[in-house]
Amino acid sequence: MGFALALIIWAITLATVVLFAGRFWWFPEAISEHGPSIDRQFMLTLTIIGIAFVLAQATLGFFIIRYRRRGEERASYWHESRRLEILWTTVTAVVFLSLAVLGQRVWAKLHLNAPPPGALQVEVTAQQFVWNIRYPGPDGKFGRTRTELINDVDNPVGLDFTDPAARDDIVTVNQMAIPVNRDIHVILRSKDVIHSFWVPPLRMKQDAVPGLAINIHFKAVKTGQFEIACAELCGLSHHRMRGFLSVLPEPEFEAWLRQRASQ
């Protein structure tokens, strides 16, 4: 019985290591400036906990075999070792807390700094199962919006056209384009319930909370077409709340914006 259990534990450990090390399915390639730092921190942590995982499971299996019952022999009456206890407490505390501190670096860069000046502002307003994207237009200013004016057919964010700044605002549904290599400042809002803006290759996820305007910023460094998923349960079509993110070279982005403005 002891052999079987140890073998199973080791087999499971091996399978797990293969599954993680083989990367048959893995992160999509990171396209944001901060993405690789998150991936590096992830790999560092994964390596450390991977080692801890293998050591713990291997030891467990080894003890199960080595110390299985043998005849009527007594077990050792050993149940205390101040030295050992201090040792492993210190080691785990140091390792865990260092990881915790290291884990704050990217976080601090993303969330403790204000969006850099000159960043392109994009407002993302989530609503049940749709992402509404708004650009400030040539004047660089978002116009006034009013809840009463919201109309899903032609005014999804409720632009108040009596405000001149609102007239040139560009609103798209589920289509978000951003220029590559430029800081993007996204202002996240929600019209109804909590949603979460999640673009896996950007390594960016942030809840959109009704009643709040949440600011995030990032910079995409690779072009391409990506999907925006909702990561916070928002109702029955949560799994279909799909938007598209195009990261474009600056000229193409400008062209895209002009084309949208003319619609």
């Binding site: 050792s76 909702c230 279909r240």
Partner: protein, 587 residues
């Protein structure tokens, strides 16, 4: 009433003895059977979920018979899937993981292990069970009301849960019933917790000092303190949520919401407030579920390793540290919620420091096995399985607890895998270990060994087959609570993993039939058990199996030894009962 303690005779009528009983053992069994009913429903619901995830468009005419209303077309619709998510989570967290280890084993064995005749307040104890049962029935009723069960998840985030039916099916009456059920559960838990605490502090028998308490008692005691302090906060949140829904207040619902093209009249509330209140309860709840499992594991490991538990004091300190820190880390559920990024850092540091006492426990369990004489009984297999799963599930917490790594991982299957292993499966392994271990004491018969071992192998392998691949889903970015992968290009390639997990889940669920069969068959047909079949040391093994109504009879036991005196050099046997005369410890 003063005499109640002295003459502790069993009531004669069937109703007083088995239904409205004030005997902690009967109440413990009532809780266990409730948990068994609940876990059966919970597993069935998870099977429906897994089938939907693996084969989203498939028709299941046979399965539809159970939910004719929700599965009218024979398929599992996305909204029904979300109802299943909500109900599975709520049933498992509250009515299984809280009910079985604390309400069940705690009620049955805490008074016996401290040497008491009953709980301090038997009537409160009885009430606690009946209120829990009422809460369970109210929750199940949600399936049968118009609109069906709520779709807002077991976390019921406002405003989705707060604005009513217009935000989605099941958010009308179903959500109200959910809140009422949780409120009842909170009240029941408080009554239970008071009993556990008072009994542990005041009813210990002569010689049963705090440092001679079995680790199970320490775990139940700490769990009770957590429940006592955490559940009222959930109750407060639940009351506020109900008022927002039915009385037009605006605690959680902000101004100017437009749901289904209607402007809502609420103004000024804070959705994050609900999350803070919920997780202030929700995180300690995780430890309410797992601490008793840790206690049972320590207890069983020591028994079958035939060694004293390593570092008894450190174990107690670790239980306390985990309990205390458990109250300070709720924010790690909210890193990307929009709360202050500065407080996120504080929560992150505190969260990773919980890893330290958890690691201490693991090291101590391993050290307990060092130079042991391990007997591979079924409870021991589950206790060893607990250690393995606790390590696996705990380590992924080191990733989730880091703010920056939580950005990609939050609300993905990585989280689902993590908490199922550490809080769900590990706790369930604790419950299984406890069941196989104490069954002879509770029913006077042994469970079948071969069936038990088969149950263990299938469950242990099955659990890993289900949950290890889930981590990979999360790393690939798969958000949780998605009814299918078809909507997204980046999710479609992950479908084979879903199919694999579903097959593993079906096998694992089927294996549980072995357990249920073994359990009920053994009650009637199992081999008769002796008083102390495991040659263990604690007080429950000094009285008949099953114990008489007043546990110890007129003569309360006197304790002379610690709880885990195994293989004491020079002693006559390889274990010393806690009640053995002081001279038994000769060395």
């Amino acid at each position: 009433m003063t005499q109640a303690v002295a003459t502790h005779e069993a009531p004669k009528s069937f109703i007083r003895r088995y239904i409205f009983s004030t005997d902690h053992k009967v109440i413990g069994l009532q809780y266990l059977f409730l948990a068994m009913a609940a876990v059966t429903i919970g597993i069935v619901l998870s099977i429906y979920m897994r089938l939907r995830l693996a084969w989203p468009t498939e028709r299941w005419p046979l399965l539809a018979k159970l939910f004719p209303q929700a599965m009218a077309g024979g398929t599992i619709s996305p909204e029904f899937y979300l109802s299943l998510v909500t109900m599975h989570g709520t049933i498992m967290v509250f009515f299984v993981l809280t009910t079985a280890p604390l309400g069940g084993f705690g009620n049955y064995f805490l008074p016996i292990q401290v040497g008491a005749h009953d709980m301090a307040f038997p009537v409160l104890n009885m009430l606690s069970f009946w209120v829990t049962l009422a809460g369970f029935l109210v929750l199940l009723a949600a399936f049968f009301v118009s609109g069906g069960a709520p779709i807002s998840g077991w976390t019921a985030y406002a405003p989705l849960s707060a604005v009513g039916e217009i935000a989605g099916p099941g958010l009308g009456m179903g959500q109200n019933l959910w809140i009422v059920s949780i409120a009842l559960f909170c009240i029941a838990s408080l009554l239970g917790a008071l009993n556990f605490i008072t009994t542990t502090l005041n009813l210990r028998t002569k010689g049963m000092s705090m440092t001679r308490l079995p680790l199970t008692v320490w775990a139940w005691f700490t769990t009770a303190v957590l429940a006592l302090l955490a559940f009222p906060v959930l109750l407060a949140g639940g009351i506020l949520l109900l008022l927002d829904r039915v009385a037009g207040t605006s605690f959680f619902v902000p101004a100017g919401l437009i749901v289904s093209d209607k402007i809502l009249p609420h103004k000024g509330g804070s959705p994050l407030l609900w999350q803070h209140l919920f997780w202030f309860f929700g995180h300690p709840e995780v430890y309410i579920a797992i601490l008793p499992g840790m206690g049972i594991t320590s207890h069983v490991l020591s028994t079958f390793a035939r060694k004293p538990i390593f570092g008894y004091r450190a174990m107690v300190a670790a239980i306390f540290a985990i309990g205390l820190l458990g109250f300070l880390v709720w924010g790690h559920h909210m890193f990307v919620s929009g709360m202050s990024p500065y407080s996120a850092i504080a929560f992150s540091l505190l969260t990773l420091s919980i890893g330290v006492p958890s690691a201490i426990k693991t090291f101590n369990w391993l050290a307990t096995l060092y130079k042991a004489q391990i007997r591979f009984t079924v409870p021991m297999l589950f206790a060893l399985g607990f250690v393995s799963i606790f390590v696996t599930g705990g380590l992924s917490g080191i990733i989730l607890g880091q703010t920056s790594l939580d950005i990609p991982m939050h609300d993905t299957y990585f989280v689902v895998a993590h908490f199922h292993l550490i809080m769900g499966v590990a706790a369930i392994f604790g419950i299984f270990a406890g069941t196989y271990y104490w069954f002879p004491k509770m029913f006077g018969r042994m469970m079948n060994d071969a069936l038990g071992k088969l149950h263990f192998w299938l469950t242990f392998i099955g659990i890993y087959a289900i949950f290890i691949p889930m981590h990979i889903l999360g790393i690939a970015g798969h958000p949780r609570r998605y009814a299918e992968t078809a909507g997204f290009d980046f999710l479609a390639p992950l479908q084979p993993i879903h199919v694999f997990i579903t097959i593993a889940a079906l096998v694992t669920a089927a294996a549980q039939v072995l357990f249920f069969f073994n359990f009920f068959w053994s009650i009637w047909k199992g081999r008769r058990a002796e008083i102390n079949p495991w040659r263990a040391t604690t007080l429950e093994w000094t009285i008949p199996s099953p114990p008489p109504h007043d546990n110890f009879g007129p003569q309360a036991p006197v304790v002379h030894h610690g709880p885990y005196e195994y293989s004491v050099p020079g002693a006559a046997e390889d274990y010393i009962l806690q009640t053995a005369p002081p001279t038994a410890m000769k060395s």
